[in-house]
Symmetry: C2
Subunit: 319 residues, 2 copies
């Protein structure tokens, strides 16, 4: 049975933003975007309460423990490992809410990674993923693991199976990612509700070919193949309507050299892949220009796709 | 413009049997089974006729040139390269007809590979694949490339796109394949007609995960992952009914150590993967035992999965 390392008083963990779906892998593929993320700090308390002390965020987040993904999963963690311990939680949100960049997953994962660091025998990533699902259930109404998994494992991930949780870590391409967040509100529940419950066998076959080729392109580092494969016939056409000028933005990104561009998760954030930093900058610029014309504010980040997973950034011990 | 090499008088080519679909890649994945195949011999004629001189086969095949896949594609080949030349064709069928082992594709491909050998500047495999499609159109009523492609390229193949034809050659796993042909008649058209035109989004997601994981397992040589991935939720459940005791046979194969078992193409042939030759033999034995009990005759082959593609086996030149 796991115990608390009694010398550790405070742990701060970082969890990256994540892009789920990646055009061809609805609900199964994702990657971490380490240039952006959430920080969660847990400080041991004398009592056994789990209390959010502060949230530093542009948006308003619930302070009530069982409604906030970070504190909710800390409660679940403590129940799971049978620990009677209290934490004060400080949250620094780097990821905008409801942006499609895995903000709720990141807060939950950062909290769990911090929690886990207090244990003498930490839980596995698979165990943490299961606990993080409670946060996603709360945030979006469905327990989807497609942001949690790349956030916890880093790099490019594939969920082979949810129950039991089987994860494949894929090769990380030597590419840059442009992540652009138009300031539009799309709730994950609405984006899910927009999807038809059936697809045609013909679309299934074509989309399968894109998915299989995309996976091969990661292993082969064949970015021409990746470019041909990054086409979503199933989900993107149903969600493009949430983003004004979606197809103009996509066309501009591809013209500027993007290997592919699509929604990050259920949007509104958009991601694009580029071979070189200069291309990434040009892509970001043409995508942004279209939003500016429509008077839509946005934020934009560029970063290499990285292997970096959620991790502890700081701890404080009792002398 | 390509010309005939005037010294070559006769060419004999071999084309392997192939398994399409491979449980997780309906219409896109396939592999060659080099232990079994068709031979087609082309002998130059003095006139410009294309005539089938002999067919050595257990079944009756059409001798009429435009109805036989081998001679049909030879006609198409000659039109395509603008050659006014005649051939006598001898066909040795190793692959049973309507078995789901790519018999019509193999005859067409062997004929094309033989034809191609007569040229001073041979056509590419992609060009040959397009020509071979005419044979599949004739044989099954639909121009499917999923047997043609592994037959022409050898090993494990993925059709990324039909138009234009884009092929990905995948890593060849270090495995044995059991190929078992119960003597049942299923026409490809009937097997296709049995399929629903729509699938649920939920099944699509689960099947995507299996396909993506299967591709990863080929690159990783992770046969445990392959075993978990080789599950077909979409096609197999709709076609299993064509094979008496399908699920008993599958269960027995898996119990005997198969990494997976499913229909080869649209059946009735069944394939199973095994790590070792002894396992392959045990799998073949338990699968066959169930068919024997049902008084269903069958043939069975075991072979390593090989990179060997269709190729010329013999030529005769004028001195």
């Amino acid at each position: 049975m796991s115990k608390i390392n009694s010398s550790i008083q405070m742990v701060k963990a970082f969890a990256p933003a994540t892009c789920a779906n990646v055009a061809v892998g609805f609900d199964i593929l994702g990657f971490a975007f380490a240039a952006l993320g959430d920080f969660v700090t847990l400080t041991k308390r004398d009592d056994s309460q789990i209390i959010i002390e502060s949230i530093h965020s542009k948006e308003t987040l619930p302070f009530v423990a069982h409604k906030n993904t970070a504190s909710l999963v800390v409660q679940k963690f403590c129940q799971h490992v049978n620990l009677d311990i209290g934490f004060s939680i400080h949250i620094q949100k780097g990821i905008p809410l409801c942006s499609g960049m895995g903000g709720s997953a990141a807060s939950a994962v950062a909290a769990l990674v911090a929690c886990n660091h207090f244990l003498t025998s930490p839980l596995s990533n698979n165990e943490l993923a299961h606990l993080a699902l409670f946060g996603e259930q709360e945030a979006s109404g469905e327990a989807h693991a497609d942001n949690i998994v790349p956030c916890l494992f880093g790099g490019f991930t594939l969920i082979q199976s949810h129950t039991p949780m089987d994860i494949v870590t894929l090769p990380v391409p030597d590419l840059y990612c442009v992540l652009l967040h138009p300031h539009l509100q799309i709730a994950t529940r609405d984006a899910r509700a927009a999807l038809k419950k059936e697809i045609t066998l013909a679309d299934y076959v074509r989309q399968s070919a894109n998915l299989a080729s995309f996976i091969a392109s990661l292993y082969e580092k064949d970015y021409q193949l990746m470019q041909k494969s990054m086409q979503d016939l199933i989900i993107e056409p149903q969600r493009a309507k949430f983003i004004p000028e979606f197809y103009s933005i996509k066309e501009a990104a591809l013209q500027a050299g993007a290997l592919g561009m699509s929604l990050s998760g259920s949007g509104p954030a958009l991601f694009a892949f580029a071979r070189r930093i200069e291309e990434a900058e040009a892509i970001a610029s043409v995508m942004g220009a279209i939003l500016k014309k429509k008077n839509i504010d946005f934020d934009c980040w560029i970063s290499p796709i990285s292997k970096q997973a959620a991790h502890v950034v700081h701890e404080e011990r009792k002398l």
